[in-house]
Symmetry: D3
Subunit: 239 residues, 6 copies
């Protein structure tokens, strides 16, 4: 099966790491490739950033379907363009938030998100309400590091641990979701460290759950519902 | 006070009627003008259509603030670009759905939406969940007329009455919200006809509630919360 | 348009200040007058206090309609008599809580109430559940000052700031609603101070949102639904 | 133990039947007496009717406590005066709705209310939301008979059966609550008839559950929480 | 009336104290006896423990019905076997959680549970969601004492007070439910002590509310709904 | 990876078909084997049936972990024994309901379940509330065929289509979940037929989503949270 990962930003700085992470959690017969946008933001940290990527995401998703991809992962926790893309193609399209949120709800009673900046909180809350699982969320926290600062893995790990520990102790979280798909290659270490601290919580990397969910959908031969995502009516569109 | 109405489509076919409707429900000291988009869809009937208008909406909202508008109405029930615009300006920005939904919740216990096409249902449901008032909604119905067919007022009125009556009888609606800002100049007649049929329900025109809410916000000197809509971080954006 | 404010207590000690506040947020063509009760409590701080004012509120609301008022504001956050009055007149009637709560839900994702005494908490929670927006409430706090002590503006402001700051920091509030219509002329100063403290939250004065909502309803020519508030059956009533 | 039933209307027309019903479901050591109001409505069928009885209910509840009653049942499904009375006495006070609604939630997954007139629907919905069990309600239906017409038991039974059957078949109800405390002495027959029709649903008489709940509270020595129902502050009250 | 208490564990160590507690809160014409299991766990502190008692509970419930009991209390907060037993007998069957949770919702706006060990939290949360009253719960806390350590009443009382006080102060609880039916004979003392500390909260003993609810159901002649708990189809069952 | 399917009934009548279905949706490197219970019911159609299988499920799950399985699917929509098993092993354990329900929530806005008999409805509702996604459920319907009658594929398909069509038309479902893991090899045909009828809804087979979810969890190296499913305390257990 072929999965196309669309990183909805300009620049390929995350691509290598994304491919590595995806390779670790994909099944052996899955082929994955990664593309970026030609126009768009450098990172997604606000709703405004999403607007700058959505039409490009659409273009990339249609291209992916045409080129034979069996499913598409729009590689961002905020899921820019996902709802609209689902109206236009019949292959399954997923973003970062929903597969992670549903998986967290399967393995725990209440869970927290730890994201990058406070500026993404509103979108995450909106997504959790749309999905109808908001009562399972213990809290939404942030490390106060912008996406483009996530390469400092030492700093990232330290701040994530701080917030995860507070989520468990103060908010009653029983699992944690990393709230940015750029927090790569770090979930297992966090999980282990929390276990060492006697607060054993699963830490969910949204890349892994997105790839896993796409494989589930593709093998089950199901996709987004045509009744939820109706084909947009024909009309003139000047864009 | 100055209110700018941004009709998030190309073409000015609705402008005259919008201005007329807005004039009927505005306060005497309110000045209203209407602008359209240079690029975008002819109408908003899907999430994909919204993507095509959002960046242009942003541009128009910033322009409005710069030109001294005290508030902006993004004149579409689906509210394209509203959440993002709120991150970028400090004057209040509202769309069509939320002012109408909140007003309906003030005047009735449960209410229905009657929209144009089934293809807008998912977005309306998402907005109602975001707003946290979804338990007040009795049903979302549609007349199966595209936006560009709304000029046939006879057909529109007949089909709206059919759906409003079913909403009241079958779904328990106690008020109805017209689910498209293009259903202009018709709410009062519907309301009267329902009263004649012994099912007296208020029918809410989203243009009227949007203008009214903007006046409320502007006179109260409050706007969207800077903590809900944080300013997007500075960064390169290729769009 | 004529709006009648009914302050549901005996004594006119708040009237001048109410008129002043209302004048600041009303539109130029709105005439406002204020009346009190002949019988009733000195202030509303419990459900029992509400009982003592409800029939008098009804009498005053009917009188207002008869005298040509276009809308009525029952000037108390707890909304004594509002639901019953809506059964008896066809002009719109609003209280203090609902317009403020809906406006807070429009401009922020989660918000807190800061009220006078703990003894009003149950009523506020009940109103928020009735309105169906309780999931938007971050917390209900109080300053521990009775209504008749609110004239000490220095003390009031200090305690409100303390609670607003805690609501933002500890409860995640993104906006605040003043939980008593007697907290007059202070919202803007609080909002400014919070901005200076780098926690910029809109502070909503329930008088302003009530007046604004009435104007919205009157201009839109909509009122409470006759299906939600049916006319009480004819019968003997010994009161 | 002594239970005082306060029928919150003028006139004793229901008293004999109430006492009979209460006697059938009380425990042998419980003494029950019944009182009415000196002022108030003839029946409660609207929120306005409630206002006319609340202060009198308060007076009667305080009198009951003073005279040694261990608990009070305000004998009306709409519960006029109950919340306020709870602020003023320390013996348990219950109305008709909440004990019935909680019991229905204990014995079934989803249940319906069948009340007298549509004009009581809003109050019942408000009570169910206040209590936090609204998601257990399948529907609220009515027989369209005013309280003072309930003595025609033949008509009443026929219409109740019609609505109960529709609640089960169309709304998925698994139990039914009689939505007026004046629907006396009829629950068992309804329940039997429904069993004969192969739709065996428990039918709950709110008088029985109110008496039962009071006995539960009195024997358990618990009453309404002083933190939910704080004592109203001392002040002048002209009523 | 005859009530059978089934303590769903092996060993009769709690029986005498249970009988004593039940005797204090039952009505004079109620006869109560207590039985244990022949096989099963020593105490219920996990979902796994429940599995070990369920079939034995079923056997005991059927036996009780056959022997003329009018109702059954499965004497454990976690309610092992209750849902299944309700499918098999027509006399009312209750466990510990639901009667206590419903009573707490009647007497307060929000309440907390204080249980034994953290390992029972998931089951309590699941039960509260099943019952549809989870929004009334302020928090679930634990004293970190296993069931078999509850005989040390001094330690138990001290730790319960600590958690109850924190529930009131930090979580906004207005009533507390003891989250284990083995916390016997202590509720009144806790309640008194909390009153002395100026945080007067009712403390609910689940044994008292279970007995009270059974009496309510038996006297009202209602039982679990046959439409919620359908009789299991006939088939081969090798157990 | 090795997945063990535990069919929680006696008799292997479904095993061949289960293996076939699982093979169609598994990834190439996944080895699957199937086991049954030595004691237990012939099928699961009630809560009582679940009790008869839970301890045997536990035994089989522990055996699976010991024998090197990486994950376990308890092959029943009602999920008997799953919550308890999760307390005892560290490999992921899933049942039929939750993976299907979460997947349906990912691909559609509202969805229905079509199960075998009405007697399973209560359990399905309870599971949906536990999982916190109940607001996404449009309806729960049944074909009125017992599990052991499912081999008549013609009858099954006809009745499923009838219910699926009604779910879409009357309840607003946008996807359907087959509510029994014994409805094997039929989902695709139903989906195609619904498309031919111009009501294109995805039909979800719970076997496929369970296998897919296990692969997701195993590859992501995450399992049920040790904080949600704490290890049961050591004690004597006579079973």
């Amino acid at each position: 099966m072929k999965i196309r990962i669309i990183v909805p930003i300009v620049g390929d700085r995350f691509n290598r790491e994304i491919l590595k992470e995806a390779s670790l959690c994909k099944s052996p017969d899955t082929e994955i490739d990664v593309v970026n946008l030609e126009k768009g933001p450098e990172s997604i940290e606000s709703i405004y950033d999403e607007y700058g990527s959505e039409l490009e995401v659409i273009r990339r998703v249609k291209e992916a379907e045409k080129e034979g991809a069996h499913g598409v992962f729009v590689d961002c926790f905020n899921e820019p363009g996902v709802e609209g893309a689902r109206e236009l193609v019949r292959i399954p399209v997923v973003g970062g938030f929903k597969p992670a949120a549903l998986t967290a709800s399967l393995i725990s009673g209440r869970w927290s998100v730890v994201t990058t900046l406070q500026s993404t909180l509103t979108r995450i809350r909106n997504l959790s309400r749309e999905l109808g699982i908001d009562k399972n969320i213990a809290s939404i926290r942030w490390v106060d590091i912008p996406v483009l600062g996530l390469h400092d893995k030492g700093q990232l790990q330290e701040r994530l641990l701080l917030q995860i520990e507070r989520a468990v102790k103060e908010d009653g979280a029983e699992a944690c979701v990393l709230g940015c798909t750029g927090m790569l290659g770090i979930a297992k270490a966090l999980s282990k460290e929390m276990e060492a601290r006697k607060r054993p919580v699963p830490v969910i990397d949204p890349t892994a759950t997105a790839i896993g969910y796409l494989e589930l959908l593709i093998r089950s031969k199901i996709s987004q519902s045509p009744l939820t995502y109706l084909t947009p009516p024909e009309k003139e569109r000047l864009y």
